[in-house]
């Protein structure tokens, strides 16, 4: 059980990770590392294997083979410890629509063992910061999509995890709201939280420190956005992706 002591250094280590569903190989020998404090993006078209990969990292899916370490814990035998140190925001936002904002916080805080006083303080602080104070006792189901996005993200962070996994966090959200959302992400990253995000929006790739592009279960490119753009001689991540797709044909 090796705990990460250094400030910089890999907080996610993946080597030859494979996931097969029957004969179908969804994730094909992934190898990469994510450093502490990074904003790491996983790009790719739908069906490329991004969601499968992220679910294995979160301990939701059992890998077929390969090595996996998250936050210093082994991905096969120490899943519960991993779960204590990570946060997760799913595509569906997975909030309890028939509970109020406050009730959602209370539930998850309780599950993570956050003491009552601290929970109340943090919740109040958070709601103020997100401008959601007025919605504190409103049912989540009635909130606009952008607010739900902010909420789901905050819940994922509530217990101060080292890594936060975001699976297609901007699905169905308008571009302006996406921008403000990424402002939030930056804030959090500056506080030292590692962000692992999957997305099929190419412009979001620009916001990441490093980006891995997935296609048919494999990583076909892995570098900073700047390096990728210069390598493929385009000025946008869209262009990078198109060039890669064309190269495959």
């Amino acid at each position: 059980m090796k705990e990460i002591k250094s400030d910089k250094g890999p907080i996610i280590q993946v080597k030859d990770l494979v996931k097969k569903f029957g004969n179908f190989v969804a994730v094909d020998h992934l190898t990469f590392e994510v450093n502490k404090g990074e904003i790491f993006g996983f790009l790719g078209a739908n069906g490329a294997g991004k969601t499968t990969a992220i679910r294995m990292l979160c301990g939701l899916l059992e890998p077929t083979s390969g090595a996996l370490r998250v936050a210093g814990f082994d991905g096969y035998h120490q899943r519960e410890e991993i779960k204590r140190n990570i946060g997760y925001m799913s595509q569906k936002f997975s909030l309890y629509e028939d509970l109020t904002v406050y009730e959602n916080f209370r539930l998850y805080a309780g599950i993570y063992g956050i003491p009552r006083k601290e929970r109340i303080r943090k919740t109040d602080e958070l709601l103020r910061k997100l401008n959601l104070e007025e919605s504190r006792d409103k049912l989540v189901g009635g909130l606009p999509l952008g607010w739900k996005q902010k909420l789901a993200f905050s819940l994922a962070l509530f217990h101060n995890p080292a890594v936060v996994f975001l699976d297609e966090p901007s699905g169905g959200v308008d571009p302006l709201t996406r921008r403000t959302f990424w402002d939030l992400i930056y804030e959090v990253a500056h506080q030292g939280v590692t962000i692992f995000v999957t997305t099929h929006y190419m412009d979001e790739a620009e916001y990441c420190n490093r980006v891995a592009i997935m296609s048919e279960g494999k990583i076909v490119a892995l570098d900073t956005p700047a390096a990728l753009k210069s390598f493929y001689k385009t000025d946008s991540m869209d262009g990078v992706f198109l060039k890669i797709a064309r190269n495959k044909e």
Partner: protein, 372 residues
């Protein structure tokens, strides 16, 4: 442990906010008590009896009026030929036809015995048996009477007589509803405990919130207990409500201890919900689960002794009932409600429920995967 409390809090809030759930919880016991219990009756109300009196003597006429006086029979007099009698029964217009042949009284006086004909529609075997038994009783008592009259002795008595005197305990009026109502309550409790909790689980799966919970360090058994307990509590409340309705509507007595009933019912629900969870954990598609569970449920209900006594069933069926949870609770609830049985009276059922429950709960926890 605190986690469970938080989970319970959330579940209860959700249940009470769910507009469609509340009416189900309150209307179901009412409907079941009012409709089911009244419909499910094997009690014989009135037997449609037709008397064909071809003798028209004093004996036959008086015996006929004895039939008429009995509250079991709804009597019609008719003069019919044998083929007309057949038609009557074929059409279903009478359950039972008594025919006094021509010369009945004469035969009786001259030969010391005479026969009348009884034809019974025996499609419903037990009803036929019972109706015939009633008829025989009326005939026998009338027979005694006329013997005394005609021979001038006060009730002819055979040299030795053994009187078998019945006493019906716990349900002296032989009210069939007292037999059915506790059984129907078991079905009620099962539906609430099992179906509502499964529906709830499916809903969470579809919303994706289960995944969100699986990502937390929540323990499997926390989650499972957190899912079971709210419906267990609601089921117990409904059970109580149902008992009250039964008391008000048709006077179902309650002779046992309500806490005893709660303990047994809780153990039962714990068992049944564990089975449900285990089944859904090992199944792949929801539809398969629903379909197969539906049929198992029907099979278990039929074999549980709800409608017909388990003791009448073939041995293989009785053995199968050892793993039928419904059988246990129906036995238990009838004993507790009607006879006042306590925990110590049914130690073997108690131990079996506990053992079976722990087994299924462990299986359910074992098979439930936070990681797929």
């Amino acid at each position: 442990m605190r986690t469970i409390l938080y989970l319970l809090q959330k579940e209860f809030i959700q249940v009470f906010r769910n507009k469609s759930m509340l009416p189900i919880i309150f209307i179901m016991p009412l409907v079941q008590m009012l409709v089911l219990v009244f419909a499910a009756t094997m009690e014989l109300k009135k037997v449609d009896i037709t008397v064909v009196d071809l003798d028209l003597s004093e004996t036959s006429t008086r015996l006929t009026s004895k039939f008429e006086a009995s509250s079991f029979f709804h009597l019609t007099r008719a003069q019919l030929s044998p083929s007309e009698t057949d038609q009557l029964l074929l059409k279903g217009k009478a359950n039972l036809v008594v025919t006094f042949p021509h010369g009945f009284e004469q035969d009786l006086k001259r030969n010391d015995q005479a026969s009348l004909q009884i034809m019974v529609d025996a499609i419903n075997g037990s009803a036929a048996e019972l109706s015939n038994a009633y008829v025989q009783t009326v005939i026998a008592s009338y027979n005694q009477k006329i013997r005394a009259e005609m021979l001038g002795v006060p009730k002819f008595t055979p040299p030795e007589q053994v009187h078998v005197i019945p006493a019906y305990w716990y349900n002296p009026e032989l009210n069939f509803k007292f037999y059915m109502a506790p059984g129907v309550l078991v079905i009620l409790v099962t539906i609430i405990g099992l179906f509502l909790s499964s529906l709830n689980l499916v809903r969470e799966k579809e919303m994706g919130t289960i995944e969100q919970l699986n990502v937390t360090p929540i323990k499997k058994y926390h989650f499972i207990i957190g899912k079971m307990m709210p419906f267990l509590i609601i089921a117990l409340l409904d059970l109580t409500f149902g008992l009250l309705v039964a008391k008000v509507v048709f006077g179902l007595p309650f002779r046992g201890n309500i806490l005893t009933l709660y303990v047994f019912t809780s153990l039962y629900l714990f068992l049944v919900m564990s089975i449900g969870l285990f089944v859904s954990a090992i199944s792949e598609t929801q539809q398969q689960v629903l379909f197969v569970s539906f049929f198992f449920l029907i099979v278990f209900i039929i074999m549980s002794g709800l409608f017909t006594p388990v003791e009448s069933m073939p041995v293989w069926a009785q053995r199968m009932d050892l793993i039928n949870p419904i059988y246990y609770l129906i036995r238990i609830i009838r004993n507790v409600v009607l006879k006042g049985s306590g925990l110590l009276d049914m130690t073997s059922e108690l131990l079996r429920l506990i053992g079976y429950g722990l087994l299924m709960f462990s299986l359910a926890v074992w098979r439930y995967r936070k990681t797929v």
